[in-house]
Structures are given as structure tokens and as C-alpha cells.
Symmetry: C2
Subunit: 202 residues, 2 copies
């Protein structure tokens, strides 16, 4: 199909498609003349994915590029694959000099985390942000969060599909696209718990 | 203190402070001459909070404005307070016409959610985003997410501090500043679960 048809089917404007082509997020079409290229269903699917990562996934263009690269590259090992997915979908946080508190928390939880994991940076940033906002997480609450996330993670890992390509999709997309779902569910769960605590007819 | 001292102590550039003043995120200082104002510790604290909401909290300027308004306004009831906090910290999502799937999920979970809750929109958006990215959440996984978030929410509600001002801070800041913590913990928990599954010496 031509670019105009690709725009219609993907619901992405032609100018935006050209931008993604320039940014190499979308593979070039097959040239049928010096000024015209043909696109196929794989371009439609990739455009939808780019939109999902930029929109609900909340990634930047650079984050989308890293994520697509991770999707396109073969995995070395299943464990490394997860690291690649996390690396690709982690938005650039300022490098922290001081990871002490984050590492102490991880040690206390007894979790096995690679030394160069980006998620340790994210944890340090989250803890700093809570401090900077003058908020205090009540004692014990961090452990409740950690335990809940460990339960979630164990279930996610048990669902890993067979086959390297399927697994890459699952890990990369499951990491980034499920985050808005979790946060929406937390807010809804708070509203339901608040109903039980303050409004439920006894 | 003068604005230059306020900039030094809050580590926010003078030009940015002036922008926040124009945007009415920061209250005016007390004028000591037609061109000079005095600021106090409450301005330092408010600047730190704005930075935390914009940075780790991931809010826009408009989201910060709504959040600060919620912090400054008295609560009508404890249950409404939570709605105000969620409303204030929800970033503008496109209004969804079709909330059917989100409502079906909430019904299935048996949760009590107000009809006009913004979190239902967020849930619909998250579900749409997962579809748009060509991802499928495995059967049963949504229930695991929901149950984990319900556990988290119950613990959060049980920790609500006494006193309306303290409670507003807790609900508004706890909602938005804890989100990065939860997401960082999920990624770390995935890495630990992956270690257990693929790398643990047996």
C-alpha cells in the first residue's frame, strides 16, 4: 500500500509517519519509483505499537527507539532479556551518586539484583522523590508494597510464553504497557477500600 | 529572605521561581518595596514539593496546579477527599466513549466505585493501550494485579493519619509520589523472580 493508505489504516497522519521514518522507528518501505514506496501490514502493526508506547506506555521517542531495538534483537538468555527490556523501557533518570538507601532496601528484602540494574536507579529516584515532596511512607508500608509486587512478578514470570520472539514481546510490552493498568487498579482499589472504611452501610 | 536566597535554598533558579509565581503555583511574597518581596520557609517547602510533583511524580504544570489546590482546600469528607486527590493527580486522558470493558472488570471484582471516577477512565485507557500495543494480558493475570493492589490499598487506608491537614497531604502525596516506588519495586521483583526461575543455583 502507499503511504496515504498506510496513514488511513493506522490512523497516523502522513507527516507523523514521515517523521517516524526519518527517526528510523519505522522501517523504510520498498521503493517502487524514486519518490514512491510500498508498505505492508507489518508497517501498520509497528505504527500501532509506536503509538501505544508513546501514549499509554508513556515513553519518549528515545525510549520507543530503545524498546523497538530490544524487540528486534535476539535474546542471549532469558534472564538477560529481562534486563534488556528494563533498560530499554527505563526513561533517562539522572544518574544517582548515592544508591545506598536503595541497596539497603533491596538487601533487606533479600532480592537478587544485578549491580548495574537500571531499576536500582529508579528505586533511588523514587525514594528521593518521596523525601523531596516531604512525604513519609509509613513504617512497614514499603514491605507491603514489595511483597505485593513480588507476588505480581512471580505470576508474570510463570506466564512467560514459549519461543524467543513471543517471549521478547511479552517481557518488553508486559513491562511497559501493564504499568498504567497497575496504577489505575491501585486508585480503584483505594476507592473501594475507602468505601469499605468510610461509607459501607454496617 | 529575598528571591535570590530563596533560589539558593530551594535549588530552583530565579527565572523558574518567577515562572511559578506567574503560574500561581507559588504564593506571592510580602512586598517590602514596589520591586522587592520577602519569602519564608513555607516558600522553600512549596518549591521542593513542586519539584517533586513535576519530577518523580511525573505531573504536568496543570497537574501540579490541581494537586496544590487539593492540598490547600479543606476536605468535605474522608471519602470525597480521596476522589479529589485522584482527580487532581490524574493527568488529562482523552475522554473515552466506551467504558464498558472497564466497568465490566470493576463489576467482576465487586469493587464500589463512583460513576464519575477518573480512575475508570484511566483503567479504560490502560486496557485500550494494551490492545493497541498488540499485547494480551494472560487470563487470570488481571485478577492477580487487582488482588495485589487491593492488599496495598487496604494497608494504605489503614495508615491514614489523624487530622484533616495531615490526611490531605497523605492522600494526595501518597497517591502520586508512591507510584514511581511501586513501579520500581515491580521491576526489581521481576528481576528477583527471574533470578529464582532461571539463574538460582539448585
Amino acid at each position: 500500500m502507499r503511504i496515504s493508505e498506510l496513514a488511513r489504516r493506522s490512523e497516523v497522519p502522513v507527516a507523523t509517519i514521515k517523521y517516524y521514518l526519518r527517526e528510523k522507528l519505522l522501517p523504510e518501505g520498498v521503493l517502487t519509483s524514486p519518490t514512491q514506496a510500498q508498505y505492508d501490514d507489518s508497517h501498520v502493526a509497528r505504527l500501532r505499537l509506536i503509538r501505544a508506547l508513546l501514549g499509554p506506555g508513556g515513553l519518549s521517542i528515545a525510549g520507543v527507539r530503545r524498546t523497538l531495538r530490544a524487540l528486534d534483537q535476539p535474546a542471549e538468555s532469558l534472564h538477560n532479556l529481562l534486563g534488556t527490556a528494563h533498560e530499554a523501557t527505563a526513561e533517562a533518570a539522572a544518574e544517582r551518586d548515592d544508591l545506598t538507601r536503595a541497596r539497603e532496601l533491596i538487601d533487606r528484602l533479600g532480592w537478587h539484583i544485578d549491580d548495574d540494574s537500571r531499576a536500582v536507579q529508579s528505586l533511588a529516584e523514587a525514594l528521593d522523590g518521596i523525601d523531596a515532596g516531604g512525604f513519609q511512607v509509613p513504617d512497614g508500608a514499603v514491605d507491603v508494597y514489595a511483597e505485593a509486587m513480588r507476588t505480581v512478578a512471580e505470576n508474570e514470570l510463570s506466564n512467560t510464553p514459549e519461543g524467543p520472539e513471543e517471549m521478547i514481546r511479552y517481557v518488553v510490552l508486559g513491562t511497559v504497557l501493564v504499568e498504567p493498568l497497575l496504577l489505575a487498579l491501585r486508585r480503584l482499589a483505594q476507592q473501594d477500600a475507602s468505601y469499605d472504611k468510610f461509607k459501607k452501610p454496617s
